[in-house]
Symmetry: C2
Subunit: 463 residues, 2 copies
């Protein structure tokens, strides 16, 4: 996956002239990455025609001429499946596109007329935009680089109480009598690791997000390889370090520690070295509404997971990343997706809630002087806003089509503008319904504030 020097040089030249930009899109599973990227590509391709991008000045001023897909540079990275995604949206009835697995990318050549082109007025310029889509779960593995096996093991949740722990009951049971000092039995370690991976998968299904190691959820070609067959050993701590260090190389403890090291070196680190360090801009998508709907456990878990995820963008102090390489991301967007699932007057609450959810990481980022902006958006709008008169009062409502193709009018309720308290959860005041996309006809995909988000992410390059 290493790139030849000539390409680096060419990229450097292009970047020097502000004509190349690598924009990365991430988010945890179901945050809406595929819909976002599909709509983004679609809007830019239809700019100047049907697309409504009034909040993007280059488009409003008629300077955005359009975009074409061109050949990507990383031949070893899957291409983002834009055509299949559009085919799903244009199906009858429309479907949501299949989620992407792993990393993918797509390169657009954007043609625009610069604002002040001086002598060369009216001549068009090209911005080469690389869009990279990758699972937010991969970022959850960053903190793992700051650990060795023992400290990582000790840092894992205790798994002995609550809903999360219940999902790991089989794994806890499989651990019984496992002696860290005993000679490792390959087959048994594989079984226990399988049980741990099943626990992680069940936790993801249940909506939990703080899942480590992230690649256990999407093993790809490493499926069945020893590198994905480790797990924490509960009950061990720093006080055991000296004793554990003297164990033989074929002991359970040393075997697991070796696999952990290999995972760090061959799985986690290469993503940061080969991909992450080359990103210029980043947007992190968050399904705040989904978590709000799922209850306090899941909401608290999302908050923890986002805190971990955002550490990848904190280069301020002597951070883990700046010890690995010189980071390059100079602008960051965080966005609460699926804003079309609540009535418009709730959108500002949604942004406030997102900011509250990310309060700690945002503080760190501002301290580190990384420009960051929060949005609420709908990549593909699926509802229309209505007002309903009821007993003399006007109540805002939404009309949309459920995944079962039923047209419904709903009152989703209020989004809290602060982190929800026990009262909120007790009231269960929020009724989030999943909608399917509407048939698009001849027009561009409808959206909410995708244009504003685009302006923040690449507007300055279209001046």
């Amino acid at each position: 996956m290493r790139q030849p020097l000539a390409r680096e040089f060419h990229d450097l030249l292009e970047r020097g002239r502000d004509r190349q930009l690598r924009l990365a899109v991430t988010g945890l599973s179901r945050a809406g990455k595929t819909a976002f990227l599909t709509s983004l590509v679609h809007q830019l391709r239809h700019a100047g025609l049907e697309a409504r991008l009034d909040l993007l000045p280059a488009a409003r001023e008629g300077r955005l001429l359009g975009a074409q897909r061109v050949a990507q540079q990383d031949l070893g990275v899957p291409r983002f499946p834009y055509d299949p995604a559009m085919a799903a949206l244009d199906a009858d009835p429309p479907r949501w596109p299949d989620p992407t697995r792993g990393i993918s990318e797509l390169r657009l050549a954007i043609r625009y007329r610069p604002k002040r082109s001086g002598l060369l007025a009216r001549s068009a310029a090209t911005l080469t935009l690389d869009l990279i889509d990758y699972p937010g779960e991969w970022l959850l593995d960053l903190p793992l680089l700051d650990h060795d096996y023992l400290s990582w093991s000790a840092s894992r949740p205790a798994h002995d109480d609550g809903e999360y722990a219940a999902l790991f009951a089989d794994w806890r049971a499989s651990l019984a009598d496992l002696d860290p000092a005993a000679t490792a039995d390959e087959a048994r370690l594989a079984e226990i690791a399988d049980a741990y991976a099943s626990g992680l998968r069940a936790a993801r299904e249940a909506g939990f997000a703080d899942l480590q190691p992230g690649r256990f959820l999407l093993p790809g070609e490493l499926d069945g390889a020893p590198v994905l067959q480790f797990f924490p050993l509960p009950g061990l701590g720093e006080e055991d370090r000296d004793r554990l260090k003297t164990l033989p190389a074929d002991s359970v403890y040393q075997t697991l520690a070796r696999r952990f090291d290999y995972y760090q070196r061959h799985v986690v680190r290469p993503f940061y070295q080969e991909h992450f360090r080359r990103f210029d801009r980043q947007i992190v998508l968050v399904d705040v509404l989904g978590a709000l709907n799922a209850g306090p456990d899941r909401f608290a878990d999302l908050s923890r997971a986002l805190g971990t995820l955002m550490k990848s963008f904190d280069y301020g102090r002597r951070s883990l990343l700046s010890r690995l390489f010189t980071p390059r991301i100079d602008r960051l967007a965080i966005a609460a997706t699926k804003a079309d699932h609540v009535t418009p007057e709730q959108h500002s609450h949604l942004v406030s809630l997102l900011e509250a959810l990310l309060a700690e990481p945002l503080k760190d980022l501002r301290f580190a002087d990384v420009p960051v902006n929060a949005f609420s958006l709908a990549s593909i709008r699926t509802t229309s806003a209505h007002s309903v008169e009821h007993q003399g009062r006007t109540t805002p409502a939404l009309r949309g089509t459920t995944l079962d193709n039923e047209s419904v009018l709903v009152f989703p309720g209020e989004v809290p503008s602060r982190l929800p308290d026990a009262d909120f959860w007790a009231r269960q005041g929020f009724d989030f319904r999943a909608f399917r996309p509407a048939p698009r006809g001849q027009g561009a995909l409808p959206h909410i504030r995708l244009d504003a988000t685009l302006d923040w992410l690449l507007g300055d390059k279209l001046q």
Copy 2:
């Protein structure tokens, strides 16, 4: 996937004392790799107990004490799924194990008493045996390293006649009007490459074996990546080289050529560098009977494919491989599998036929002084041999259970001892039936000549 120096050094020491051996098993799809490896591990684990290994001297002399699975060294390579394979064989009714995809490995520690142990008589020694299983299709890509895109494209079959060509009709149609000099349209190239990959898959389904590029059949994490989106351009030859060289970088021709180069550097070469060069011994499994059953087209195709595959073991002259690294394989076995599907008196014919099929590559190997031996074997015997009296004549027959769980008595017919001629095909004299494994009960898996094959592959290390 690179190994640390310390491990190389340790391996070197072990090898110096003849106590470590890397044995690779390959063969085209359905040649019987999984059954072979499963039975091999099973027999060695049951050596000295139920396993019948009379043709392996160490076992016959009671010096083979048994084998244990131990932790493999390559943490990034999937472990060979021995337990699931045994579970399938022990199911009721027994099933064939799922075929492996890609590379996998398993390490055994074999305990044995050396023959002449001098002062230390009766003390046991350990041989560490690494078993590596990989698709024979990967070896079909070796010749591709000796080409550039243009010469590779010209070397591909014409695809315009016969049964093989019919499978590529959609691809031929998708190529219509594709101008090598035109600007590459990403989406169109992806479509044409998809059609080419579909052709390859259909050809494999139909039993053809000469399929390039091999990774198109098993893309793994590269699925959807541009590196797997190239194909030959029919009608181009050396006479076009100068003209093609001057085409712009974004032309169809240059784009495909770049992907071909990337495939060579990042897909084909790493397998040889990271895995192949470390093999000590190799066995190539061939489903001769299956090809014989499938007819003249498929049989001729198998012959061509094996010719290509065997080039990976020909280091004699200034071969492609010896330019890459110093090869290490010092002993080679070729084996016709599924020998239990013909009556015992046909087994010698099966070996002769295998040798006839591989006549050209065997000549090269003998010239290059690579020791090679041919076998017929059944990794897991599924039939019993019988004699049937009919009209005063005794005819050999087989009793087995079909995949539909029907117990049948069959007369499979004669295996030709030379390459079959038109007469043979006209007579259709061969009735090959697929059998399922028999319940094993308490005993070891029954086999035919697996012990003789093992003696050739590792008997000298158990002296």
